[in-house]
Amino acid sequence: MTPLRQGLRDGLPFAIALVPFGLLFGAASAAAGLSVLQATSFSVAVIAGASQFTALALMKDGAPALIVLATALAVNLRMAMYSAALAPHLGTAPLWQRALAAYGLVDATFACADAAFRRHAAWSVPDRMAYLGGVAIPVCLPWFALTILGALVGAGLPAALPLDMAVPLCFIAMVAPGLRTLPQAVAALTSVAGALLLAFMPYGTGLLVAALLAILAGAETERRWGRPA
């Protein structure tokens, strides 16, 4: 099997798992008053569900742009780690290919590529790029399509449905299944406690402080007692 086909095959299960998230992001955007074009631009420009939901929730709350950007970008900081992990495998590819790879570097593409590059140590750099492209197609394109569908359908949903909970539930589903280690649990609990205690701070700045404390708490727990995630 060619690396491209293998990538397509490995990415496909993620396309199915994305269905509820993409639809919900579209629906939540519509509920927040965004047009279909705005919701779609959001997904095409960012392709990072968690940070898109974060930005949406904070904008709905009336937070200023700087706070929205800082908090939503904090959610995406983990991708620097992905970039660093893949750089030794792809570093000699042409710049435009690396830029394209960076654009499509989401949790799912990283998870697949990281595993595949270890499995196939003999792959050339073009092979690896082809694989990454293969994974990105079934992961990224459905994200755009589902956003559009969700925005179209979501606007017509009855107001009695508690759609305000779509975002919190998506976040819980993204985080809870992956909480396996003590440092992760410490980070999550610090985040919850900090956000609730600092909720009086204006425009989501309490969340930003709570998140910083939680990152420090998780890292410190790992340094002292934990094993890495």
């Binding site: 904008m59 742009a65 609730l196 340094r223």
Partner: protein, 106 residues
């Protein structure tokens, strides 16, 4: 939607996210991140998202900030299902089912 201008947020978030993803692939090359940096980056997800959820689940704007047992219960159930099954879809499904039940029963 008031506050932050939409297009500024989309462009800023899109560009910023791209630069994060492009950082090492683009210029920093095969340089390795120091262990202390990795140790902090690992916890960005569990550090931000739970804190975003907690106030939304406890004091929903839709009820004027009054705690709604169905919303809070759905959130807690989603956490429990996620921890127990390790499945994203079961977690989401459990929470959505509790919410739907709450919407039906009022």
């Amino acid at each position: 939607m008031s506050g932050a201008p939409f297009w500024l947020v989309v462009l800023g978030l899109g560009l910023g996210t791209f630069l994060i993803r492009f950082s090492f692939l683009g210029g920093l090359g095969a340089r390795r991140l120091p262990p202390w940096a990795l140790r902090h980056l690992r916890y960005t997800g569990p550090a931000v998202l739970p804190g975003l959820v907690a106030p939304l689940a406890l004091w929903p704007a839709a009820t004027g900030g009054q705690t709604d047992p169905w919303r809070l219960g759905a959130a807690l159930l989603a956490v429990a299902a996620g921890l127990w099954t390790r499945s994203v879809l079961w977690s989401l499904g459990a929470g959505a089912a509790a919410l739907a039940l709450g919407a039906l029963l009022g």
